[in-house]
Amino acid sequence: MEQKTKIHAEDGKQEMVITREFDLPVELLFRAHVEPELLEEWMSNPYATAKALKFEGKKHGSYQLESTDAQGKVVFRSNGVIHEFSPNKKIIRTFELENAPFGVQLEVYEFSGLTEDTSQLRMQVIYESVAQRDQVLKLPFAQGINHAHNRLQEVVITLK
């Protein structure tokens, strides 16, 4: 089966590229990334609810996102600044996971229409170092399980 989402992370490089094709017009793909209530909806999962505390979709704008578990406990917060904002084309922004040792990453989102009803997203993510990128790659293994077990959260933090 062809994988819809592809990730290229070359050994020894401090960046990765995520690509995905969508059965959506590029306008809708873009809106999903810049309208807070839409962002909240697709970033949430059964274990964590995403909330946009702040989201200024414009050049020099900033954003802050928060993720809470079923008990309303904050699992993580992230924030960043938008450097380029070209509707239906491109977003360049920084991303930082608060209180986490992953540094600040630079994200370049390129949106392109393939046909009237299909589009592609290319996301280039640049980290401060190769080590930081590799650490982030190992992270989601621990994510997605951010549910009721408070203890687990402590374990995740100590996992290197």
Partner: protein, 107 residues
């Protein structure tokens, strides 16, 4: 039937990932692991069996107790793969697509 278990299939399950994280810090008995979950004990046992079959967990006999601990080498092999990370984004994007499709038809 002794089919070879797929490691990625094993870690695709949230409960099994939670089990791996639990025993990452210390070796635990099946009972101690099960105490962390609302799931029925036999279900947890089944998860432990699957994780052991694909070598993510190892068993050590200590007196009458069997302790489960993480197989660091196997875990490293898994971590070397990007699959869990890819899967996370794939799930998110699929959700995005589903939500926006509804949006499209609503208009």
């Amino acid at each position: 039937m002794n089919l070879r278990r797929d490691v990625f299939q094993a870690i695709a399950d949230p409960t099994r990932r939670a089990i791996l994280l639990l025993v990452a810090s210390q070796a635990m008995t099946a009972g101690a692991i099960a105490a962390n979950f609302d799931t029925a004990r036999p279900t947890v046992s089944k998860h432990l069996q699957i994780l052991t079959e694909c070598d993510l967990l190892e068993q050590t006999q200590n007196g009458r107790e069997i302790y489960y601990h993480i197989n660091a080498q196997k875990m490293k092999e898994v971590a070397d793969f990007i699959e869990p990370f890819r899967k996370m984004w794939d799930d998110r994007f699929t959700k995005l697509e589903t939500i926006m499709k509804k949006y499209k038809t609503k208009k």
